[in-house]
Amino acid sequence: MYGRALAPLALATAAASAVAFGLIFFYAPLDADQGFIQKIFYLHVPMAMVALLGFLAGGVMAAMHLRTRDRVWDMRSYVAIHLSIILSLGVLVTGSIWARASWGHWWVWDEPMLVSFLIVFLLYAVYQPLRFSIDDPGRQARYASVFAIAGAAFTVLNFIAVRMAAAYTHPRVFSQTGGNMPADMFITFLVSLGAMALLFVTLWTLELASKNAAERLRRVRRRLEREAEYSEAGERLTRPAPIRPAPAPR
């Protein structure tokens, strides 16, 4: 059921990524004071926004699971969070590279976006250990959903808190993602954001399709095994038992 959407999604993602890369390297102007390294912005910020939305979507899907009791929603929430964790790691790495290139340090504490991401990443890093240290599948799904909802609410709250702390101790000198971007930069940014969102949706669909297929395969295999057992048992009943020699004493 997920497989059908996969081919068009993959094509759209490839096309959007190609357009985004073309715009980034050939259309968007070089930043006046940061130069070429500012291009990482078109990777870093869309990644951050998509990862964030992924965590929030994971929370909403988890709420759907608790509401409808349909385990499909738990699986969707799990895959969204799982992908967002990977993207968060990318956000931290690209953010760190950008900070090194433009401020000279691998890590800056007065960049609220980056700091918030570290905290959110540290929280969600516990999602999988929590999930897989619960054996009962129903309970696993429920506990993971409770985590996902609390995590989504926390993500928003945490951004407010970190931004408040940064605003008080270090007034922000300039905002990189502010609305005063030239139009060609903004268009490139929007296309990059769209490409990243499409990539997320494609990977999400792909993983769900693979999990779905694996589950169906397991079911078919189990049925075949059961049928084989039955037919063996049936043969044994009809055929006379072979006379075996008594085992030799050891």
């Binding site: 608790l66 905290i119 959110v120 540290l122 929280l123 890093a125 516990v126 250990p129 929590l130 240290s133 619960i134 054996d135 009962d136 129903g138 309970r139 429920r142 506990y143 959903s145 409770v146 985590f147 909802i149 609390a150 609410a153 926390f154 709250l157 945490n158 407010i160 808190a161 970190v162 408040m164 702390a165 008080y168 101790t169």
Partner: protein, 224 residues
């Protein structure tokens, strides 16, 4: 529901008074941590941001000990099954657990804050005490809600001693931010509050969100 919650709370408090597990352990932990900070910083007296950070981080870490023990009696003696069999609202269990943790934290702070003032704090503790108490109380409400939820989440996992702290510590970062930021001017020489209302509001928002969230989600942890 309130009567049920009070009955469970009374049971928890009686258990704590007789066995004396959580609060003495938490208090001992904080005092030991202050000794460690004395040697770690190699300073006799702390003030300003270092003092505020030391106090808040120690209290938040001590909370982990309390949360680890919060469901111990239910888990080890199978009390939770009995409670689930009883025709009571599950929210009552959460309210009782959060209230118990809140009382543990207040008891802990009655020991830890004077001990901090005695052992490490440079400026006078008495002056900014009302503001500090207000901050601690609001933070405790948020901590109690988060702790009771996280404790229940971690209690059913295989590696609960690991999952609990790892889950709780990132979740209390906003409280550490607000607490340390608001306490820093209180622990700096004249001891006058600065932006107290703003940080109290952030803590209040945190407490409100986590109390409501925990009440909404707790039922799902206790099904089966």
């Amino acid at each position: 529901m309130v009567a049920t919650a009070l009955a469970i709370l009374r049971k928890d408090l009686r258990l704590e008074l007789r066995a004396r597990e959580a609060v003495p352990a938490m208090s001992l932990f904080t005092v030991t941590a202050f000794v460690l900070f004395h040697f770690g910083f190699d300073r006799d007296r702390l003030d300003g941001d270092v003092a505020a950070g030391t106090l808040w981080v120690t209290l938040l870490l001590a909370t982990v000990l309390g949360v680890n023990r919060l469901y111990a009696a239910e888990r080890e003696q199978g009390g939770l099954e009995a409670m689930l069999l009883a025709p009571i609202d599950r929210t009552a269990i959460f309210l009782a657990k959060a209230a118990a943790l809140l009382l543990y934290l207040v008891a802990l702070e009655l020991v830890a804050v004077p001990a901090f003032g005695l052992l490490l704090l440079g400026p006078d503790l008495i002056g900014p005490l009302p503001e500090l108490c207000a901050l601690l109380i609001v933070a405790d409400v948020g901590l109690a809600a988060t702790g009771a939820l996280v404790g229940a989440l971690a209690a059913e996992t295989r590696a609960r001693e690991l999952i609990g702290p790892l889950l709780l510590l990132p979740l209390v970062v906003p409280l550490a931010i607000a607490g340390a930021q608001a306490t820093e001017p209180l622990f700096t020489a004249p001891g006058v509050a600065e932006d107290l209302g703003r940080w109290l509001a952030l803590m209040g928002l945190y407490a409100t969100i986590f109390v409501l969230l925990s009440i909404a989600l707790f039922d799902f942890l206790l099904e089966d």
